[in-house]
Amino acid sequence: MADILEKTNLTFEKLGVSSADQILQLFAQLQEQFDKENRDFSAVGVRNLEHSEALRLSWLGRKSGVLTRVADNWLKPATPTFKRTLGEEFNKLKKHVDSTLEEILKSPSADSEGPSIDLSLPGVVLPLGTEHLVHQTYEELFRIFGSIGFSVVEGPEIETAYYNFEALNIPEHHPARDNMDTFYIENAPGYLLRTHTSPMQARTMEKQQPPVRIVVPGKVYRRDNPDATHSFMFHQLEGLAVDTDITFCDFKGTIEYFAKEFFGPQTRVRLRPSYFPFTEPSAEFDASCHVCGGAGCRTCKQSGWIEMFGAGMVNPAVYGFVNYDAKRYSGFAFGLGVDRLAMLKYGIDDLQQFFKNDVRFLRQFP
């Protein structure tokens, strides 16, 4: 039987084919050969994909497939007398081979060879790292404040007393300094670790005329003994907007926008009068508790409100330090605790976690 395959290597001339009947016979033998090979594969039980691929190669392969040889050796040199019959037979066989191969792949077992995959087993995982929650929170704040025109600027952590206190209307011996117990640098006299990011207010306004609209990220330091809500280093974002037409209403709108963006659109806000030397009027900014929605819970100590940060209209005295005309310009400033915001948002009850850098903490915020 296999010599039918040999015959495809020879031309009709050499095979001595002289009638249409002979042609029909040759093609019948070819189809029989193909069907046999197909059956043999099935009997061996190879996977469907291999089975169809093997048949495809030996019959349709571009270099030495049986049908390729038929086309080259029989079809091409054929005399006009046989051309028609040959063509019809060739197409018939080709169609048979194609449809058989298709059938093999269509069979229900074609895509599920072997035992099926246990989907509950893990895949191959390339470990990914994480960005620190403080950084993630900063990014969100930059996005929120960037969307309403606040540029990001940075300043030094080792500051002078002038920028950290005096230029913010906190002269030496001002009781407000009690709330900001300060680390001093021994071998750089006159320098301290900034207690807030507010020094960038004066530093920015010294260099730039209004309009000013900035946020200032960075580390700040206070000489507080560490506990669940205190750390001698934490992160702030200072905000400052100064222009000819900035009012208390703009201040309210800005921080309300922030609160709704950060905690969700259902957030309500309120301002309580307060005191800071560098703002006037000053306010403590509260947001409705995002946990209970204002009904009262553990997070908000049953008050329905959460204290967010201090803020207010820039005290005109501050403009005196940067040669702004206080009669012409007005503005607002705020200083929010970034770690605290993250603690509130994610229900973290221990500030120290942020700086221990235990990977089990870090990986909770992918």
Partner: protein, 694 residues
């Protein structure tokens, strides 16, 4: 400050229940933390901002409540029976330091009987957290809590010559205060002295010698005004904070001094009997004039952005004691934009001196919630930090490589930091650290990185890869300097065991690969052997950026085992520290210079060379030799396999080198490839003495 609700009602027609006050007061700037019941009625725990010393008194809080509810204040009346003898005949007061003490009044009461206070007084004081001492001392405290003016009662008979001299302390002077502690005094401290010696530290605490005892018969009641800065400095220096110093350092009401002691005299007469001498010895050399301030609607609108009705402005300012008077030409017409109110700041409101202060008063009592919120239009595009984009790319790449970002506190242990400190660097030292292990600013990111690895290893986290964007700090010529830095740290397994693959230790090659992946953003890096005390020798590299090769940007390597042992790290750790600014600049430059290269149209061909090399022959040398041949079709040189031992003699190693060729213009022919291979083989043999294995 604790406030008794019932006491408040003595000063104003308050009808609102105690439970309602916290929320109303909070929204006007007096934060109430809690309301608790006591024997003397409900107690409100108020947080008083430091600008409002007048609220450290019941009368002051009552005024605030009255203004809030628009109810009347009740006048405070005192009835004192004075004897015909004048106080001035009995006692003398001299102020030698008027800059520290602007007013001193002394009232004399003779023939008192010191005894325990009656129940009502004890209850009130105790409800406010004060312990009861005796009737006279309790009265001075009571009046302070009532009116805000600290008083001090001296035993008149213990004051030498019945004289009060207010002066600065002399060098080396000491005195024993009421609490029994011998205090070292220094100049600039304000002392109250008798003819002989100090009897009190002005505004802070009385002395033990002249203290009221059960045998005291005659009293001198001091009611004075001390300079806030001086009191604050003194109390800080002595570490002695008292109810009196708290009030004086925030600014007491100088006009209230005489009245407060009159009120005390009234109560003392009621509770301890005795005879109040006529008048008060009052030394007040430069009476202060009250501050006149105008509030205009124009300015109110400019700052607040929304209006407050005339009637509200009038009522609020009047209720707070500012005696507003409309002085503009349009007075009489409501809501005039030209409206101006002339005000006089009462003596108890030293915090109000400017128009903005009045605006705040009006706004907070009118209610911050009544001002509408709106967003100001932005006039400029919002800018990110310089190189924020480059930093984000670095960060995302580190995260993709499996590194977790950490944030460390830069205050570190000086001994630890010294291990990683670059030569010729002086750390910024904290003069007043909280603890020794947080007393310098770190000079290297590695200080924190190793601590973070240590923490994780000690908490069962053995496979850790970390990075930090931070700063290092130093002092140069007495000035601080901060430099941004990127630190990497890794230890444990690079790949953990799973059903798909086996575990693999993190190695130097992992560090190198990771660092190279990052530095590709900047065009790649050169690794050169380096010596660093904290990195293992032979496993330490200095990194410079490839394009110019001279810009050293950091170091990388394996933590020296001696250092690892100090930190009790029981596994190898790998570290890298890169200067961030030059790196970010290089990334920006490199990205800006990126240009498209057409994809090759002709196939690439690989040829492998199996080399046997002497130890010490670096891959870089091999690369150099091959590249020196200047074969334009050379595309890539890779080390595919490396091994030692087996058939390879000692001192040698075998390297499988793979070289890729590709032409831009044609498919390479077999003869070209044979020629390339031959040239490479002979060059390697000639230059490096390499033998080619079959």
């Amino acid at each position: 400050m604790k406030i008794l609700y019932d006491w408040l009602k003595e000063f104003a027609d308050i009808t609102a229940p105690a439970a309602e006050l916290p929320s109303r007061l909070s929204m006007a700037g007096v934060s109430i933390d809690s309301v608790e019941e006591s024997a003397a009625g409900p107690v409100l725990d108020a947080e008083i901002t430091i600008n409002r010393p007048d609220l450290l008194a019941h009368a002051g809080v009552a005024r605030e409540v009255a203004a809030l509810y628009r109810v009347n204040l009740k006048p405070i009346q005192t009835k004192v029976k004075e004897s015909s003898d004048a106080a001035a005949k009995v006692a003398r007061v001299e102020i030698e330091a008027p800059d520290l003490c602007a007013r001193y009044t002394a009232r004399i009461i003779r023939g008192v009987k010191i005894q325990p206070s009656p129940e009502w007084l004890r209850q009130r004081l105790e409800a406010l957290g004060q312990s009861s001492i005796n009737n006279v001392v309790d009265v001075t405290n009571y009046v302070m809590l009532e009116l805000g003016q600290p008083l001090h009662a001296f035993d008149l008979d213990k004051l030498s010559e019945r004289r009060i001299v207010v002066r600065r302390a002399k060098p080396g002077e000491t005195m024993r205060t009421l609490d029994g502690i011998e205090r070292k005094l220094s100049k600039d401290m304000c002392l109250i002295c008798d003819a002989r010696a100090p009897v009190a530290i002005g505004g802070v605490m009385g002395g033990a010698e002249s203290e009221i005892s059960f045998s005291t018969r005659n009293l001198l009641i001091e009611s004075a005004w001390f300079d806030p800065i001086s009191v604050r400095r003194t109390s800080k220096t002595l570490g002695l904070r008292t109810e009196a110093s708290l009030r004086f350092e925030r600014g007491a009401d100088i006009e209230a001094a005489a009245f407060a002691s009159l009120r005390a005299a009234e109560l003392i007469q009621q509770l301890a009997g005795g005879e109040a001498l006529a008048g008060v010895v009052d030394v007040y050399p430069h009476p202060q004039s009250l501050c006149k301030i105008e509030l205009s609607r124009k300015e109110l609108l400019r700052v607040m952005g929304a209006d407050v009705p005339d009637r509200e402005v009038d009522e609020i300012l009047a209720a707070l004691g500012f005696a507003p008077v409309r002085v503009d030409v349009n007075r009489g017409s409501a809501g005039s934009l030209a409206a101006v109110w002339a005000c006089t700041a009462p003596s108890w409101r030293g915090d109000v001196t400017r128009e903005i202060d009045l605006i705040e008063e009006v706004a907070r009592l009118y209610g911050y919630d009544k001002f509408p919120a709106r967003l100001p239009p932005a006039k400029q595009p919002a800018a990110r930090l310089p190189h924020a984009y480059e930093e984000a790319r670095l960060r995302e790449r580190l995260v993709a490589l499996g590194y977790e970002e950490i944030v460390a506190i830069p205050l570190v242990d000086p001994e630890r930091d010294a291990i990683f400190r670059p030569a010729d660097t002086t750390a910024a030292v904290i003069g007043n650290p909280l603890s020794e292990d947080a007393s310098v600013m770190r000079t290297s990111g590695a200080t924190s990185m190793v601590s973070a690895l240590e923490w994780n290893l000690n908490h069962g986290q053995k496979n850790v890869r970390l990075f930090e964007f931070g700063k290092v700090y130093e002092v140069r010529d007495g000035k601080p300097a901060e430099t941004r830095t990127l630190s990497l740290g890794a230890t444990g397994l690079a790949r953990e065991q799973s059903i798909h693959q086996s575990a693999r230790e993190f190695s130097f090659a992992d560090l190198k690969g990771d660092v190279d992946q990052i530095l590709t953003l900047a065009g790649g890096a050169r690794w050169e052997p380096a010596r660093m005390p904290w990195l293992a020798s032979g496993f330490a590299a200095q990194l410079s950026l490839s394009p110019n090769g001279h810009l050293v940007i950091g170091a990388a390597g394996r933590l020296a085992r001696s250092v690892a042992q100090r930190f009790k790290l029981r596994q190898d750790a790998y570290l890298a520290e890169l200067r961030l600014e030059p790196l970010l600049e290089a990334i920006a430059r490199h990205s800006a210079a990126l240009r498209y290269e057409p994809l090759p149209r002709f196939p690439a061909v690989e040829r492998d060379f199996s080399l046997v090399l002497s130890d010490g022959t670096t891959f870089a040398k091999i690369e150099d030799v091959v590249r020196a041949l200047d074969i334009p079709e050379l595309r890539r040189i890779e080390a595919v396999d490396l091994f030692r031992g087996g058939q390879i003699p000692a001192g040698k190693y075998s390297l499988l080198l793979r070289v890729t060729f590709q032409s831009e213009t044609a498919t390479l022919t077999e003869s070209q490839l044979t020629d390339f291979s031959a040239r490479i083989a002979s060059a390697l043999g000639e230059k490096l003495g390499t033998s080619l294995r079959a």
